[in-house]
């Protein structure tokens, strides 16, 4: 019995495709709008949101819509980069902890606890300052602080896989270690890794924005959401509410979109809900 009607999995897949398209669209648009975002025009300063400038303009006549999109795009790109670096570190360290014996395990587990024990924002700030702030500082800070939770998950998963009867039996039948790792371990690890990776994005983006907002991250000439928000703070009391509202709101939307993306991906990959 096969049905081809609309079902939950089809809906979920459609959502995933749309969400990825929207995020990719924002990222691409932001790159094209970067120049426009920097254009100053003192004939149109402090305009409230309207038909021409959807998000209004600021005290230097810059189009806030262009700035917001450019900022989001930068955030997403930094998010992608840092999440990828974090996830790669997590994969390597998690696997090492699980396979290289007890000593390596306790050393790596100690590192995980150490990094997790320090508040993220503090750690990001410290690393960022140590690396000279700017783009490099933020990327280093965020990627060096976000790997532990995923590393822990991967460590547990690999430990469990290593002792799974079917893995033991394959080894006993003379299948090479490499083949066991590629054919039998990676496919089981992949769903965990993927959802972990996607769920890292929102964290990475938010932390980048906060660190920048506090002045320890990206420099003020870059069109980052954090920069926009901190600059807008001083204009909030003068009634120019749009300067902070729209960029802030769109940042939240992007983060929520990423979180939902991870949530939905997990829903598809987790056997406890995959067949609903």
């Amino acid at each position: 019995m096969t049905e081809r009607h609309w079902n939950r999995r089809a809906g979920t897949l459609l959502f995933l495709v749309l969400a990825i398209l929207v995020l990719a669209g924002i990222t691409a648009a932001g790159i094209f709008l970067e120049e426009e975002a920097a254009v100053t025009d003192f004939s149109r300063t402090n305009l409230a949101p309207g038909a021409e400038f959807w998000f209004g303009t600021d005290w230097m006549g810059r189009d806030m819509f262009a700035r917001t999109i450019a900022g989001l795009s930068l955030s997403i790109r930094i998010g992608l980069l840092t999440a990828a670096v974090s996830a790669a570190a997590a994969l390597v360290l998690g696997t090492m902890a699980a396979t290289l014996g007890r000593r390596a395990d306790s050393a790596i587990s100690w590192c995980i606890d150490l990094v997790m024990g320090i508040p993220h924002i503090l750690l990001v700030m410290l690393i960022s300052i140590a690396c000279g702030r700017g783009f490099a500082g933020v990327v280093a800070g965020v990627s060096l602080s976000h790997w532990p939770s995923l590393a822990r998950v991967i460590r547990g998963e690999v430990l469990q896989l290593k002792n799974a009867p079917y893995i033991l039996v394959e080894e006993k039948l003379g299948v090479s270690k490499l083949q066991v790792a590629c054919r039998h371990m990676l496919p089981h690890l992949f769903p965990q890794f993927l959802t972990g990776l996607i769920l890292l994005f929102p964290h990475a983006i938010l932390h980048e924005a906060s660190v920048t907002f506090l002045g320890f991250g990206l420099s003020s000439e870059q069109p980052a959401i954090g920069v926009i928000l901190s600059e807008s703070m001083q204009y909030l009391t003068t009634g120019r509410w749009w300067l902070a509202l729209f960029p802030g709101l769109s940042l939240v939307l992007v983060v929520v979109l990423f979180a939902l993306l991870g949530e939905r991906a997990r829903y598809l990959l987790d056997p406890a809900s995959a067949h609903e």
């Binding site: 019995m1 096969t2 049905e3 081809r4 079902n7 999995r9 089809a10 897949l13 809900s273 995959a274 067949h275 609903e276």
Partner: protein, 320 residues
């Protein structure tokens, strides 16, 4: 005895129940797989009914279906009556514990963070409940000090007895035991089955789900044989004393395959439930099978010699 039993109203009636699994094959194509097809059985007070089938033939789902705890990707058709009234999910929830109890497969069903006593009394603290708790523990050879232990302090056999004690705590009218003895040696299993028989003697109905026919025969009054998700025969336990009294070719094959009855196998293998779409699922293995067996749309259940059999050409009685 026989007459008395006929006058009693059954506690549990299962009429034409089918359970389906829904799953995605590839991409977004979804299909339903019938794991249990057209199952009917009744359990009367004071009776032990055994459901016997190979692992993976869907028999555990039957227990879950009755208790209303099927997995999220399955659905059930047909009718289940408890005490003559339909057993809905809500009613099953209310009856669970008092009236309807499950003895589960594994000792993992005990709450590891709760003392045994608290699990038995389910939080009630009146004297009557406490007294009943002591009685039940004692009945299964567990001292009153057991109530103060945590599950990890119990040995495997003790944990299983606690599970039984917990099930009979409120004197249920129907007990469902789902593979209660895997991995136990014959002596330990025999002791536990003895308890089951006692429970039935006190008037409770018992549905005993197992893969072990020989074990089931030691306590059951009636045996329902499962094959690839279908019930193929319902026979009295006495019928198994003699191959000639059995009705379905598969049941006879089971009989001959017992280590003490010749250990003789037949060809082929039991298909995975739901993979056979038409005809008799046993047709591929049946020696007496004819062309119609594989082509018939549905094999009806017939009453033969006081038992039920799902076969177009049930075996004739013979004296061996």
């Amino acid at each position: 005895m026989e007459k008395e039993r006929q006058n009693k109203k059954p506690i549990l009636e299962v009429h034409h129940v089918s359970i389906w699994f829904t799953r995605y094959d590839q991409g977004i194509r979804r299909s339903s797989l019938p794991v249990i097809r057209d199952l009917s059985l009744t359990v009367e007070p004071g009776e032990v009914v055994a459901v016997v089938g190979a692992s993976g033939s869907g028999k555990s789902l039957l227990a879950h279906g009755i208790l209303g705890i099927l997995p999220y990707n399955s659905h059930m058709e047909g009718e289940i009556l408890y005490g003559g009234e339909p057993l809905t999910k809500e009613r099953a929830e209310k009856l669970r514990g008092n009236g309807l109890a499950l003895i589960p497969q594994g000792v993992t069903y005990l709450d590891p963070l709760m003392k045994v006593g608290a699990q038995l009394t389910r939080g009630r603290k009146d004297e009557k409940t406490k007294e009943r708790c002591r009685q039940v523990l004692e009945k299964y050879g567990l001292g009153p000090e057991t109530a103060d232990l945590y599950p990890f302090e119990l040995s495997g056999g003790m944990a299983r007895r606690v599970l039984i004690a917990s099930a009979v705590m409120d004197e249920p009218r129907l007990i469902i035991a789902d593979e209660p003895t895997p991995g136990l040696d014959a002596r330990a299993a025999g002791r536990i089955l003895g308890h089951f028989r006692e429970l039935a003697e006190t008037g409770a109905g018992m549905l005993f789900i197992t893969h072990d026919l020989e074990l089931a025969l030691t306590i059951a009054d009636r045996v329902v044989v499962f094959y690839a998700g279908e019930t193929i025969e319902e026979a009295r336990a006495e019928d198994f004393q003699d191959e000639g009294r059995l009705r379905h070719p598969f049941t006879r094959a089971l009989f001959r395959a017992m280590p003490s009855h010749g250990f003789a196998p037949i060809r082929g293998s039991q298909p995975y439930p739901g993979t056979v779409s038409s005809g008799c699922p046993f047709a591929g293995q049946c020696e007496a099978g004819r062309k119609e067996c594989g082509e018939a749309d549905r094999i009806p259940v017939q009453r033969v010699r006081g038992g039920l059999v799902r076969c177009l050409y049930p075996e004739k009685e013979e004296t061996v």
